[in-house]
């Protein structure tokens, strides 16, 4: 195997794992509420800024900045659910209303940042790690790339544990199949929705900070979630394993295209694949079928 190939695999895994952190947030919300929460990008953006200001302004240790990003985004996600979606849910609004409100919320957050003293400028995170890669033979492992992969992988494993092994996770899976069914079992669906927004928000905060560190922070950074949305569709909206597999695949495809063709084709091919998946298999690799949703 060529070095370039190995190198691109490593890059693809690291970017793909961060896509996965974001994509599971989409999937969790979709699995229960049946709409794509496009406001997720705004939550990620705020997480990236919280991390940035924690390091530059509060000057807290690196680890604390991660915690603050995660919690800040988690709280924001829950507040948005309460303000934007809950009123819609209470009057059984059509799904289109949810999607439009989500887009509105995302644009609102972006513009709040632009209008605030923070402004539209691009900001670079302070250097936390040396930019010198760790060499594995002749393959270079970027320190931030490694961090992205490790943090994402650990967070996703914790998430999978919660979903698969805990009572809360069981109630999330049951509710994703039937809200009526789980309500009849005594599940408080408001509480389940609160929990999925907390989980999605925490991971969004981590993803925002990782992205900010890797690239820069700017008000439109949330647009990167378009990619994780593509990944979630790849894997099958509403399926957590699907979201993770779709994300890693997308990361790998992107880095391969960048490495062997040109990075100019990267997004073109990503979106072309999205359309292809939607045409050929709209439920994605592991998505729930429509009759699953009674």
């Amino acid at each position: 195997m060529s070095e370039l190939f190995l190198q691109q695999i490593i890059n693809g895994l690291s970017i793909g794992s961060v896509y996965a952190l974001m994509a599971v947030g989409y999937s969790l919300v979709y699995s229960i509420m049946n709409f794509s929460n496009f406001a997720h990008g705004g939550v990620i953006m705020i997480g990236a800024y919280i991390g940035y200001f924690s390091l530059t302004f509060l000057k807290v240790p690196f680890f604390i900045a991660f915690v603050l990003s995660a919690f800040g985004s988690g709280i924001l996600a829950v507040v948005m659910e309460k303000i934007v979606y809950r009123p819609l849910r209470k009057r059984n609004a059509p799904f289109l209303y949810f999607i439009i409100s989500a887009m509105g919320a995302s644009i609102f957050l972006e513009n709040v940042v632009i209008a605030s003293p923070i402004g539209p400028t691009f900001r670079s995170y302070p250097t936390v790690f040396s930019s010198e890669p760790i060499m594995l033979g002749s393959v270079a492992l970027g320190r931030i790339d490694l961090l992205m992969f490790v943090i994402s992988a650990i967070s996703l494993m914790v998430l999978v544990y919660i979903i698969e092994k805990t009572k809360i996770g069981l109630s999330i899976r049951a509710t994703s199949y039937s809200i009526k069914g789980s309500t009849l079992m005594g599940v408080n669906v408001d509480k389940v929705i609160f929990i999925i927004f907390v989980l999605g928000g925490l991971l969004a905060g981590l993803a925002g900070m990782l992205f900010g560190m890797r690239y820069t922070v700017y008000p439109q950074i949330g647009n990167i979630t378009t990619k994780s949305f593509i990944a979630a569709v790849f894997g099958g909206l509403g399926s957590l394993p699907g979201a993770v597999i779709g994300s890693v695949l997308l990361g790998l495809i992107e880095t391969m295209v960048s490495g062997y063709l040109s990075s100019q084709y990267r997004d073109l091919i990503a979106f072309a694949l999205l359309i292809l998946v939607l045409v050929v298999k709209p439920t994605g690799l592991m998505g729930k079928t429509t009759e699953d949703k009674a």
Binding site: R173, L184, M185, G186, V187
Partner: protein
């Protein structure tokens, strides 16, 4: 045990229940018979807190019943819904675990689990199977077992015989009697009037949102009007299909 006074439910402009009153005594099997669209599920869902009612009152064990679904389950009422709504994406065991979602008495849960496996041995065999792959009859048993896992005092059964073969319908009704013998009070809603009346203590007839008749089940089953409307030739054919 359960007392409903003058319950009215609207779906937008549709007046689905028009002042329904009924009474269920502890330990009884009470049946509500009525054809498709009569408002049977609406009534059951109002008790369960899934459908909101503006007029009327529901009392349970002498107190006003909460309108929040999870509090209603907590107070000892469970519904086995029409169409079963088992969690097809979960295993049989996980479905049963969902039934005991609000409980934390591990010993009691294990005891009930064993009782349910005694009642439905097939569920024990299929413990690890994904529930969506069960047959219709097995799914009905799972739905009933799942309901029992909340250790309810009152069970609301919404058309348990729907879509099942006649032989299985007999099995399900035998099990309903057995559950009643375990000390559970049962409110049963059915289109299969003959079966529902034959196991009930007391029964109501619901037509277009109104209770049109009530009485001891063994008397209603002999009533000419009921024979004509619900146990007539047409319906006998339907039942034996």
């Amino acid at each position: 045990m359960l007392k409903i006074n003058n319950l009215s439910v609207f779906y937008g402009g549709i007046h689905a229940l028009k002042g329904v009153s009924l009474n269920v005594e502890q330990g009884q099997i009470v049946s509500i018979i009525g054809s498709n669209g009569a408002g049977k599920s609406t009534l059951i869902n109002s008790i369960s807190g899934i459908v909101k009612y503006k007029e009327g009152e529901i009392f349970y064990k002498g107190e006003k019943l909460s309108k929040q679904a999870h509090k209603i389950v907590k107070s000892g009422i469970c519904q086995v819904p029409e169409g079963r709504i088992i969690f097809a994406n979960l295993t049989v065991m996980e479905n049963l675990r969902m039934g005991s979602f609000l409980r934390s008495d591990t010993n009691g849960i294990d005891k009930d689990l064993n009782r349910i496996f005694d009642l439905f041995p097939i569920l024990k065999e299929r413990e690890k199977q994904v529930a969506g792959t069960l047959s219709g009859g097995e799914q009905q048993m799972l739905a009933m077992g799942r309901g029992l896992m909340s250790n309810p005092d009152l069970i609301l059964l919404d058309e348990p015989s729907l879509g099942l073969a006649p032989l299985l319908i007999n099995t399900i009704f035998d099990i309903i009697i057995e559950i009643n013998n375990m000390g559970k009070t049962i409110l049963l809603v059915e289109q299969n009037a003959f079966k529902a009346l034959s196991i009930a203590d007391y029964a109501y007839v619901l037509e277009q949102g109104i209770i049109t008749m009530e009485g001891n089940a063994n008397e209603l089953i002999k009533n000419e009007k009921i024979k004509e409307a619900y146990l007539g030739k047409k319906n006998v054919d339907f039942i034996s299909v």
